[in-house]
Symmetry: C2
Subunit: 134 residues, 2 copies
DNA sequence: AACAAGCTTTACGTTAACGTAAACTTCCCT
DNA sequence: AGGGAAGTTTACGTTAACGTAAAGCTTGTT
């Protein structure tokens, strides 16, 4: 049997934890990315919601739009019985992977360039700061 | 002496090469990221402009805003004589590096997850497509 | 000369992802 | 009972990064 942790969160909890506003969290719900249950009017978030929030924020750091992240959620939740469904899924996955690999390359290049710049700065700084030693 | 390649481009050239609209290129200029010279009314782009365009697009793939990319350009072009200037530069560089390293981690995690998902798809696909072989 | 292709400026429109304000309920505290 | 803290809905505002006309130059081609 599943040990379904009965851990829940309020919207304020999550907002504080992830350092975002409650407005954002409600907006993500509005866009269909999260579906907290209600206790009367009040939203109650569970582990799954929390994980999704984390994924949304990771997506944002990678420049994903909310709808892109939504598509990824659909992939994970999708009906995995139809063969054609599975195939289109694999196409989408391949596409995302290609994007990410491109980003990986971009980042590596940029990090190299920043390192070069940094080193150049350090050198001229060293040359400027200690001219007395000559 | 520098062999300054006298290679130039029209706005249409660059738009085609990078698969963007001329509108975008003019917009980047408007934001101060490129400064082509003029032949009468017409914009003439040189190698430096082209490189900048490439950097802008790489920045976009990494989720950088245009003003962030602009800041990076400033860093590269900055006056590298003042010590305090150099130090604030190094702070900014360190910040960017931290961001990029975070992105690097995010990407690696996401790629792993996508690979898992892909593999799971392949397995169920294989199980569904070839049930005759039993 | 006329016309198309490619360039220009000006300017209003659009989308995503929230920010912000107003007005209301619910619960807890003293 | 009165207030404050945290939650709610509704709705208009905002910013970035262009899209999309509209109207006009310029240059080569027919």
């Amino acid at each position: 049997m599943k040990t379904t942790n009965q851990v829940t969160y309020s919207i304020g909890n999550l907002a504080k934890e992830f350092d975002i506003t409650t407005r954002s969290i409600r907006f993500y719900e509005d866009q269909g990315l999260i579906s907290p249950v209600r206790n009367g009017q009040t939203r109650i978030y569970n582990q799954r919601d929390r994980v999704r929030l984390k994924l949304i924020l990771r997506g944002k750091r990678l420049g994903f739009s909310l709808s892109e992240t939504g598509r990824l959620f659909e992939l994970y939740d999708a009906d995995r019985t139809s063969a054609t469904q599975l195939e289109t899924m694999m196409v989408l996955i391949a596409q995302k992977k290609a994007d990410l690999n491109q980003q990986l390359d971009d980042i590596k290049i940029m990090l190299m360039e920043l390192n070069n710049l940094e080193q150049s700065c350090q050198e001229t700084l060293a040359a400027v700061e200690q001219p007395k030693k000559n």
